[in-house]
Symmetry: none
Subunit: 206 residues, 4 copies
């Protein structure tokens, strides 16, 4: 009687395993090195079986995109800053979260980068990925706007511009593969200095 749910579970697990294998392959070889057969090998199943679960390669790519979204959302919700935190604390929280992910789960960001690029030529991917990108932007923008409103950030700060700077710093450290924590901290501090309202001391929020 409990068989159907079990099977569904099994199918779902298979899909998860397939998505995971696809991801690690994308990290290793990029999209141009992604082969369905190799995914099947890593999962330990036959290619025909893989195609039973995921009909086409496009569907596979979409599956990976969706799995990225799920992980991203889960992580964002899990690491959501409490309502009781100040805007600058919440912003620092965002930075911490980003760099922690890069340290502990670098695969996630690498696949994300591949997906963002692929989104340029692949509408299916774009439909899944671009909203994540915008969600991220909006969330940070909201924090900045809150900081401007409560006076903890410079009152004349333009939230979208500041958001671009914030996200830009995250992307740039990633592009330059900067892992040294001190260098990262210094850059983040620098960014805070230019955002916080004048009389505030550096890292007063830390």
């Amino acid at each position: 009687m409990t068989e159907p749910p079990q099977k569904y579970q099994a199918t779902d697990d298979r899909k998860r395993a397939i998505a995971a294998a696809a991801r690690s392959l994308i990290v290793e070889k990029g999209f141009e090195g992604l082969r369905t057969r190799e995914i099947a090998d890593r999962v330990g199943i036959n290619i025909a079986t893989l195609h039973y679960h995921i009909p086409t390669k496009d569907a596979l790519v979409e599956l990976v995109a969706q799995s990225m979204k799920e992980d991203f959302m889960a992580q964002r919700l899990q690491h959501q800053p409490g309502e009781d935190l100040s805007p600058s604390q919440r912003l620092r929280f965002e930075f911490d979260g980003h760099f922690r992910t890069r340290r502990e789960n670098p695969e996630l960001l690498l696949v994300m980068e591949e997906m963002s690029r692929r989104a340029r030529h692949d509408d299916t991917v774009a439909r899944v990925i671009l909203p994540m990108r915008d969600f991220w932007f909006e969330r940070i923008r909201a924090v900045v706007a809150a900081g401007c409103a409560d006076g903890s950030f410079r009152s004349d700060l333009d939230p979208p511009s500041a958001t671009l700077m914030i996200i830009g710093l995250m992307i740039a450290t990633s592009a330059y593969r900067i892992e040294d924590r001190e260098v990262i901290d210094r850059a983040v501090d620098e960014l805070f200095r230019s955002i916080l309202s004048a009389p505030q001391e550096r890292r007063a929020d830390a």
Copy 2:
């Protein structure tokens, strides 16, 4: 007398045409959509002819990387800020150059992004592309350092951190496909505000 140069020119032109076709194809479909036959078609030659000039696909990718480097260097040297300019003028010059390239020759930056990503899995590309990336960083860092030295930038500014913010802003506006000039100007102004020394008025250098 001019025969040998002419012939050389001819071969060189073919290579240039091949690199150009490859680039536009990369822009349209990414590396995963790059097909030698399609490049040959676009150049208007037989595949065998393409292979006569460039023996393998790897060599083709390297050719594209090299052509990127040449264009990049040519552009950088051409648009080199005069020695008589102030650091803040030179920095603005860098921003202007970047955004003008994005407007007038978006292909260049898109291919550059693809190359940077490919560099992660392809050592040949990495050897050509990574030095460009570092060259760019260093050039901006030098401007920032000069600004700090002459007092036009905040004296306590950390040049590498500021450079990451500057490059980050360029990359972020690119990632979010922000084309609106006003939005860009506002973001650039915001960045300048956080870099210039306190009593200075905004856009004093414009």
Copy 3:
């Protein structure tokens, strides 16, 4: 119950069919005329299917070499002269076997010749083929040695030298495409005359 064997049989049959097609193609056109596509056509399968069973052309050549070895060994063991035969009877048995093969299955010797030649440039083939060649030599040498020992062959005969003469006669009749049985018989008789001990009558063993 019989399913796994059946399946194995099927794959094995395919391989056998591929090897057979490759052999006849080698006979017709030599190694330089061997094309995977043509083999697939003769077997009645798609090239991709051929590559499913045999991954590369080198593997195909090795398969043919192995199939030669199997046939050779099977034939040698099947036509093994009884222990009760005299050395000269056993030697004549070898000759008969050789010429019968040439008449009834000329393909086998032609492919063998191609393989021996290929072995000079192809180590994989050499590893399979040269042992067969040596096996053949050794088997005949043993017969000659036995004949010398029991006095039926000239006592001062050098077995390796006689073996070279015996095999040489087989190869030479092949090289000169001599099919006329009388001519062959006369040559074989001549060889026997030079091997048998003096007082013996010709064909006393026939």
Copy 4:
């Protein structure tokens, strides 16, 4: 005035150089590894230039065959046994010539073997090569017949059969890559023993 002959000479030299390069390539890689471009490279000319001298690959193969014939004939005529020699001395002379060629110019026999095999599928080659083969047979047969006639060889010897044994011994030692001079000498002695008329001592002719 002497230019035309000079040029003709030059063309002829080129052809010789091309044939030589083709031969060494055939030795190294067999017919299946023969590439016009590689021949041109070895000669130090352009492929177009090679095709100027030899229009097609078939013509090239024929050129090689012809060059083989020329060398073969030149060598045979040069090493022609004097009329004053006895049949057994002349036969030994043939053996010596063969084994000396194998030692000093092994390329010649290897290419010859390739050609003989190719003759099976290539009529042009067959027309050039088979007469050489037959010329060789006939020459040895004549020596044997002379030996039978003058009583130095066994009177009941069948010349064609003996010729097959003689040539067979040469081919067999070649097929088994036997280079050891002692082994060769022993085999040749053995063959002589079976041919010479009974009361004759071994190597009486040496």
